[in-house]
């Protein structure tokens, strides 16, 4: 039922909040049905860019298009899964939450019920359909959010650190599930994360951003490793290292911009298994110390 994904293109986009330039001259082309991860240091503007694609914020310059249409505001064709499960309506049961979109679109009752059941089953929540969000675990709430978005059969699904608040084990399960669901629906997915491992597990392409203000697209890494992916295989580990250095440079830049002394904070905590990687721990300013730490990380990566 879900049509295949739509291509998304971000052209010369500038986004401002008052005088603050959050994003400057961002360009990104995303293919139909592609899974793209946006990776970057905290505060660089990942959410801002995603919100521009969603239509929540309007660029002051440039344009975002989805399929053939220019994005001017939120639309059912672009579903959004938020980091916080607060986005669920707590006064509605899971089933009613999932039915919200179809109800707003005027889908008939019978058809609505079928769609809701289908997507509840897809995310594995059929047994909890009549519970309220407050009665669910964090992982289940994010499944409910995903089902609610999928019930509108969007051609693009935008996800802003959807698993950021989950524990490591649950996150791993959710990542595997999302990979399956993405293939089942064929939707285009733009997925924001600060977790390098997560990006490698999921993405067709990984987009890194420069640190803000005036953030932009820094590099685009194709990620065509065979799925399901294993972070411990050498190709993944190599990509992991590459990304860590890419983002680490940005984090170091941010820290310096904030006036923090980054010379002593050299612990490489980057963990290829995808735990909150201290992505920003590689400082070009102290190569000696840094080198040994990175090597340490490599050993673990290749373990």
């Amino acid at each position: 039922m879900t049509g295949s994904g739509s291509p998304v293109s971000v052209r010369d986009v500038d986004i401002r909040f008052g005088d603050f330039v959050a994003v400057r001259q961002a360009n990104l082309d995303i293919g139909a049905g592609e899974f793209v991860c946006l990776l970057g240091p905290s505060g660089c503007g990942k959410s801002t860019l995603l919100n521009a694609i969603a239509g929540f914020v309007t660029p002051v310059d440039g344009e975002v298009t989805c399929g053939d249409t220019r994005v001017t505001g939120p639309d059912v064709s672009r579903g959004v899964v938020f980091q916080s499960a607060e986005a669920l309506f707590p006064w509605l049961t899971v089933r009613q939450n999932v039915a919200f979109g179809p109800r707003m679109r005027g889908v008939g009752k019978a058809q609505r019920a079928t769609a809701v059941d289908r997507y509840l089953a897809m995310v594995g929540l059929s047994h909890s359909a009549d519970r309220f969000p407050a009665q669910l675990s964090g992982g289940m709430r994010q499944r409910a959010q995903l089902a609610r978005v999928l019930a509108n059969e969007p051609s693009v699904v935008l996800m802003d650190e959807p698993f950021g608040a989950l524990d490591a084990q649950t996150r791993l399960v959710m990542q595997v599930e999302l990979d399956r669901i993405w293939r089942e629906t064929g939707a285009t997915i733009v997925f924001v994360t600060h977790d390098i491992g997560e990006a490698i597990l999921l993405a067709d392409r990984i987009v890194t951003m420069t640190a803000g203000p005036s953030a932009g697209i820094k590099n685009i890494y194709p990620c065509d490793l065979p799925r399901p992916r294993d972070l411990t295989d050498p190709a993944s580990a190599a990509l992991f290292r590459q990304l860590r250095e890419d983002i680490g440079a940005e984090v170091a830049r941010t820290l310096r911009a904030q006036g923090l002394d980054d010379g002593h904070d050299g612990r490489a905590t980057g963990d290829p298994a995808g735990r909150p990687a201290g992505a920003g721990t590689v400082e070009p300013s102290s190569p000696g110390v840094n080198g040994t730490r990175v090597a340490d990380g490599d050993r673990r990566a290749l373990r």
């Binding site: 939120p74 639309d75 959004v80 986005a87 309506f89 006064w91 979109g101 609610r148 509108n152």
Partner: protein, 276 residues
């Protein structure tokens, strides 16, 4: 700290048994029992104190009880209670029914909020009692003036609470609703309104309390019926015990109304986050 001597042994022994427990953890029977005990103690103190004064100055609990029986027998108490209750419930219900949409509108239409703001800031400080005279001049000494005063009390509190509710609706939920295809009107009905329910209920409860304040002043000034009128006319007969009966009836009635409101809302509106 000085504590009334008679209550000391009782209280100390209980406190020792569970020094760190919070009130909510006490077994139900104990909580109710403590409440009843406290009321009985209060009546005992009242009785002891009243022995030192005349019945006109401070009637004893017994005399008050007899006064109550008198007033129940001749129907005055029941008539007063129903008269006051009818006014309160009518004015209050009207105030809630009008106050909620006004608050919602103010929350959703910024220019309307800005236009109404000066009036609200002004009338916030004018208590309903100040309008008793005007209400009588404009609406006559009948029911309308009292209902109008209670409406005035209620509509402000409910509208302002609803407004606060609208302004505190999680931006995330508004975004989610819009991305799921809800237009502004449907967002108002299916996201904003449900989110404000706890605020509305709080406003309605506060307004109920203020309605009691208002009704007594209105009835004291101009009414042939109602608890306020009962309290005021008792003076003419030098029946201080009727004043006590009126006061106790007011307190019990308010307690009852609030209890009903709490019961009903926490049963029916639980899913919206209302629980007392």
């Amino acid at each position: 700290m000085s504590v009334d001597v008679r209550t000391v042994p009782e209280k100390l022994s209980r406190d020792k048994s569970a020094p760190t427990r919070r009130r909510g953890n006490w077994p139900r029977l104990t909580r109710v029992g403590l409440g009843v005990l406290s009321v009985l103690l209060g009546i005992a103190v009242w009785d002891l104190v009243s022995r030192n004064y005349t019945a006109f100055f401070l009637p004893s609990p017994m005399l008050t009880w007899q006064g109550a029986v008198e007033l129940v027998r001749d129907g005055t108490l029941w008539d007063s209670v129903t008269a006051s209750s009818t006014r309160i419930l009518t004015g209050w219900a009207l105030g809630v029914v009008i106050g909620v949409p006004v608050g919602l509108l103010m929350g959703c239409v910024p220019w309307l909020r800005l236009m109404l703001d000066p009036y609200i800031q002004f009338f916030r400080f004018v208590p309903p009692i100040a309008f008793v005279t005007l209400a009588i001049i404009w609406l006559g000494p009948g029911e309308a003036s009292k209902v109008a005063l209670i409406f005035y009390t209620t509509v402000f509190i409910v509208a302002l609470n609803t407004l606060a509710g609208v302004l505190s609706v999680d931006e995330l939920r508004l975004r989610a609703a819009r991305a799921l295809g809800a237009n502004p009107v449907r967002t108002l009905a299916s996201v904003v309104l449900p989110s404000t329910v706890p605020h509305v209920v709080t406003g309605a409860r506060l307004a109920m309390g203020n309605s009691f304040l208002t009704i007594v002043s209105a009835e004291i000034v101009a009414a042939q019926s109602g608890l306020g009128s009962l309290i005021w006319t008792a003076r003419n007969y030098a029946k201080t015990e009727w004043v006590f009966v009126g006061i106790i009836a007011l307190g019990l009635l308010g307690y009852l109304f609030d209890w009903i409101l709490r019961m009903v809302t926490s049963k029916t509106l639980r899913r919206y986050g209302v629980n007392f």
